[in-house]
Structures are given as C-alpha cells and as structure tokens.
Symmetry: C2
Subunit: 187 residues, 2 copies
DNA sequence: ATTACAAAGTGAGCTATATCACACTAAGGA
DNA sequence: TCCTTAGTGTGATATAGCTCACTTTGTAAT
C-alpha cells in the first residue's frame, strides 16, 4: 500500500530505502466505504490524505444548503481542507467518499516533523503545491473564459475517466451548473 | 528596496544578515511604468516577480480577444505566469503594470539555486505556495456559491484598497462580469 | 417479480447577466 | 482653450442558465 506513495514521490524526488522508511513512519493507513466522511464541516481537520485507491469529493455547502464540489480526489491525489489543516481551525468543507477508498493519512504534526527531518520531502511538497496552485488557476481561467458547455468539454478532456465513475449531477456540482442544464448540453 | 523583501520573508522565517545577503544575490531590481509589460503572452517567462511597490494585472486573453484578469498583484505579492515559469515554456498570460511598479526579479535558475542553498527559503516558498493555492480555491468557491453582486462585495471586503486604485472595468474583468452589469450592482 | 430509489432527461417559464448603443464626465495633451 | 480618450452609467433587448414539476430509465434490495 505504501508502494504507491513511494512511486508517487519518486516521480519528483528519488528516495533511498532508509528515507522512504522514515517517511512511512509518519503515515497511517485507513479505509473508508462509499458515503463515509473523512472530514466534516465544522469539525477539526486532523489529516491530509493521500489517495491510494478510490475516489473522494471535497464539498462546500452554502447558506441555502446547496452542495458545491470544490474538488474531486482520485488515486495519487492529495486532499484535505488545507486552510483548516494548516491553520488548525475547523473545517469549512467536507471530504466524502464517492467510492470505497484507501488513504494514507498524515497529521499536521507529522507533516512538520517530516519536512524538518527530510529536506527532499519538502521539495516534493513544494512542487505539489506549486502545481496545485497552477491547477486552480486554470480552473479560474476556464470559468472566466468559457460557458457551461465548453467547461464541461474541458473537464471531460482533462479527466475522461471521471464520467465513468461519477454521476452527472456531481459533475454539475463541480462545474457550477444545474444538473438539468448539464443534461441538456451533451450533444 | 530589498528591505521590503526581508520584512516579507521574516513574517514566515527569521533570517540572519548573512542569509539575507545570500538571498539578495539572487534577485535583481527593475522598474516599470504604467502600461508596460513584464510578461507577454507567447514569449518566454524569465522571472518570478516580487512587487515592492505599484500594481500589476495578470491577464489571459481568450480566443475572441477579450481580456480576463486572472489576478492582481500589489505590494508584497509574488507574481508570474507560473506554469510557464516552472516548466520553462511560453507564457499563456501577460503581466502588465496598472501603476508604475518596482519589482525584485528572480530567474528560475536562481530560484532553484536559492532553494538548494538555503533550506529556510524553501520553507518560505512552500508556505507561500500553500496559501496561494488556498486563495485560488477560495475564489473558486466564491464562483460556485455566489452571484455577481455577492462576489463583488466579497472582493471589496477582501481588498478594499483595490477599488481606489483600479477602474471598475478591471474589477469586472477579474470578477467575470461585464462592466455594464458591474455598474448596475453598486447600490 | 416487485418495490424502491438514484440518476437522467425534458418541458415551461423565470431571472441574472450579456450585448449593443448611446450619453455623460473628468483628465491630460495639443 | 479645445479635443481626445478613459472611465462610467443606463436603456432596450437577447440569451444562457436556473427552477420547478414531471417522466423515464436503470439498478439494487426484498
């Protein structure tokens, strides 16, 4: 199970066996069933999660109770309510399983210890964060420049597997469109 | 001029005089007039910029020639076309002065050398990147949950100084609303 | 088989926002 | 001083997308 993590990190920084063993001591393994919550709005955010298998949705619920999908997280993705995680405050988003999911968990304490203990991993996290930021910026540009149909097509092109795995109503909640409108876009 | 940078970094990591001197060797100073370009779409992105004074806009131009503001950058902000910078490819956005602006410039080469030579600064960049990511995610949530008027009010609340400094047509291009619609929202 | 529920499609009417056209004001340059 | 231009406001009309209500389909459980 940790093998996936090793492979994932080594795409960015090479690791000796000792280094990887050290990294592993900071993570714990958990399994969740579809519909279970890893993070609930209003509660403390203990962990950042590395998805080994399965699929998650990061959800923000607005004043009227409507759910908006801030992000999906599939295999090899890192996910959490990062504001709450880094500042150790209460979650403003929930993280919920769309499929049965296996994750590796790292607490904020362990994250800091890990960065202090192994510079390479800090480099790794920096690179992840940089490209995470770029990804979000891309999504903003997609919003600024495109209508619902084009954004839908961009999403399908970027993550073709997603449409097999999640109902369209969730894609709509990610795209910021009503499910009815999305349903009318397809042709 | 570098003092601003020192103050800025020390909000996150403390620095000895030697360390700061080392950091400074990686930056160069530049001044630009209103309307000048720091980055032009289609050209190479040499630098990441730290804004000492002034105001910039990061702009993406769509297929129809319409300009969309991906981000503003004011004092103490870092800005660049980061995808092009990190991957050393051509810019897909331009960076242009809204006011006369002084910046500190760091090339990608120097950025890497600096991170290799001083672990502290890598920690600093990691923290900046993390919160940059969180900021973008916030903007996405704002899009998903709010209409034009609410997004405008959120923007004014978050950056009250902005409305004094930039024409409303630019705020509209940032919010993803037509300037006419923005003009009708105010009361 | 039968029921129950989640997902998807569709029609009708409504609303927020876009677009186009024009008018007004303020500021800077000739 | 006059002229030009950037910024802003506003009316009229068009449209993308929303909402509500209903139907259809697929799928899992009894």
């Amino acid at each position: 199970m940790h093998d996936k993590l090793k492979e994932h990190i080594e795409k960015i920084v090479p690791l000796s066996d000792d280094e990887f063993a050290f990294i592993c001591t900071h993570f714990t393994t958990k399994k969740f069933k579809k519909h279970q919550f890893l993070i609930q709005e209003g509660e403390a955010v203990k962990y950042s999660y590395f998805v080994v298998s399965g699929l998650l949705k990061l959800v923000h619920t607005d004043g009227t109770g409507k759910q908006h999908i801030v992000s999906f997280a599939m295999e090899d993705w890192w996910e959490s309510d990062y504001y709450a995680y880094y500042t150790q405050t209460k979650a403003t988003m929930s993280l919920e399983c769309i499929e049965d999911t296996e994750v590796l968990c790292i607490s904020f304490e362990d994250y800091k210890k890990l960065c202090d203990g192994l510079q390479k991993i800090e480099r790794f996290f920096l690179e992840k964060s940089n490209f995470g930021f770029i990804g979000s910026q891309r999504r903003i540009i997609s919003w600024l420049t495109s209508n619902a149909k084009d954004r839908y097509e961009q999403l399908l092109k970027q993550y073709p597997s997603l449409i097999q795995r999640v109902p369209k109503s969730l894609l709509a909640a990610y795209l910021g469109v009503s499910r009815e409108t999305l349903s009318r876009l397809s042709p």
